[in-house]
Symmetry: C2
Subunit: 224 residues, 2 copies
C-alpha cells in the first residue's frame, strides 16, 4: 500500500517538527512562569466540568486560563468564560487532536504574564491526542465510569503517555459494572508511574486529592 | 504552515482512493448478498453490547458476522466469538479509524457466502471514522447518555454521515442531565433524515424498534 507508506512518512515529519515546537513551547512557559497542563479524554468524559470544578477549588491560589479545542462549536469556551475565567477556543476544523503549533496559536491570544496555570482541553478522542506532544508540562487523562474498565486494553498509548488518570463519574458506580481495581491494575501495568485519582466532578467527591496534586505540581514549577 | 498543507494533500489522495475501494466493496457485497453495516461511536458508548443484543434478537432470521476494529487488543472479538458468532479482529496499529481497504482485508478472512449481515465495529472515536467511507451499506452511530446531549454541536460530521442515531444507555437517564429532546433536535438539524432510536443495550429497553429497522433494511437488501 504505497499510500499508507506515504502517509506515515509525512506523519513522521510532522511529529519531528512537532517535538521541536513542543520543546520550544516548554522553554517559553518556563520563562513566562506558566504551568501548562494538557487534559485528554474520550468525548463526554467530563473534561469541561472537571476543569470548572478544579479551577473553582484552586482559584484563590492560582490565576487560570483555559484553551478549549474542538472540531467545531465554542460551547465549552463559553461555559468557562461565563465563570470569569480567561478562555480561548481553538477550532481544529476537522483535526482530531492538538499539536504544539496549534497550542502556540492559542497561547498567543492569551496574556500569559497574568496566568499561573493554563489548562488545555484537548479534542475529545482517546487515540490521536496521545500521539502529539502539546508542549504541556504535565498530561492528564480522564476515564469515566460509563466508558468501561476495559479502555486501557484498547487505547494503551493514552494511558502510557499520561501522568495522571482521573477516574471520573464515580457517582455512576452503583449503576455500572465498572471494576475500579481492574481499571487501576490495567493502567498501572501500562504505566507504573501514573497517578490515579477517583473523582466525581459533578458531586465533588474525591476532588481534593486531585487538586492537591495539581497545586503541588504547579507550585513547584512556579517556584513558590 | 507548509507541513499542514502537505498532510492535507496526502489525506485527500488517500480519501479519493478510499472512495474507489469503498464503491468496489459495495458492488462486491451486492453480488455476495451480504448487508454491511458500519457502527461508530466514542469509546465506551456500548458498541459491543449493542451488537451482541442486536444479534441475539435477530439471529433466528439472519446469519451474522462481526468485524471488530481496535487500536490494540482483541477483547471485543473474543466476547463476540464466545456467543458463537463469526468474528474477525482488525488491529489498526495506531490508526484511529477504518478505511475501506482495511475492511476488505477483514472481509477476506470471512466466509461471506454464509453470512447475511456483517457488522463493522469501528474504532471508538467520534472524529476520524466519520471521514472515511468504509464501503458499508448503512452507517449507524451511538451516542450514550453519559456523554452528554451537546455532542452534535461538537462532532457534527459524525451525525451528518450516519443513517441512524442510537441513543444508548437510557437506563442512566435518571442520574444524568442529558436532554433527549435537545439531543434529537440537534442531530436532526445536522441531518434531517437520520433515524433516531432510544435504547438500553443493557436492559433491552427500546431495542425492538431499532432491530425492526435493521431487519427491514437487511431484508430489502437481501431481496427477501
Amino acid at each position: 500500500m504505497s499510500d499508507e507508506v506515504r502517509l506515515i512518512e509525512v506523519k513522521e515529519d510532522i511529529k519531528a517538527d512537532n517535538a521541536r515546537v513542543a520543546q520550544g513551547l516548554r522553554e517559553r512557559m518556563a520563562q513566562s512562569k506558566t504551568f501548562l497542563l494538557n487534559l485528554m479524554s474520550a468525548p463526554g468524559s467530563g473534561k469541561t466540568r472537571t476543569i470548572l470544578r478544579t479551577i473553582e477549588e484552586l482559584r484563590s491560589r492560582f490565576t487560570f486560563g483555559v484553551l478549549e479545542a474542538d472540531i467545531d462549536s465554542k460551547v465549552d469556551a463559553e461555559l468557562i468564560a461565563a465563570q470569569g475565567i480567561s478562555a480561548v477556543q481553538l477550532r481544529t476544523g476537522g483535526f482530531c487532536h492538538l499539536d504544539a503549533s496549534m497550542v502556540v496559536q492559542g497561547l498567543d491570544a492569551m496574556d500569559l504574564a497574568a496566568l499561573d496555570v493554563v489548562i488545555i482541553e484537548n479534542v475529545g478522542n482517546l487515540v490521536c491526542p496521545a500521539e502529539f506532544d502539546t508542549g504541556a508540562i504535565r498530561s492528564v487523562m480522564i476515564l469515566s465510569v460509563p466508558e468501561g474498565d476495559d479502555k486501557p486494553l484498547k487505547y494503551p498509548l493514552m494511558f502510557s503517555v499520561s501522568d495522571v488518570l482521573l477516574i471520573n463519574k464515580i457517582d455512576y458506580l452503583g449503576l455500572s459494572d465498572f471494576d475500579v481495581a481492574a481499571a487501576r491494575e490495567r493502567a498501572l501495568r501500562l504505566n507504573p508511574r501514573i497517578e490515579i485519582f477517583e473523582i466525581s466532578a459533578k458531586t465533588g467527591q474525591g476532588m481534593e486529592a486531585w487538586t492537591s496534586w495539581l497545586a503541588r505540581e504547579a507550585s513547584r514549577f512556579l517556584g513558590r
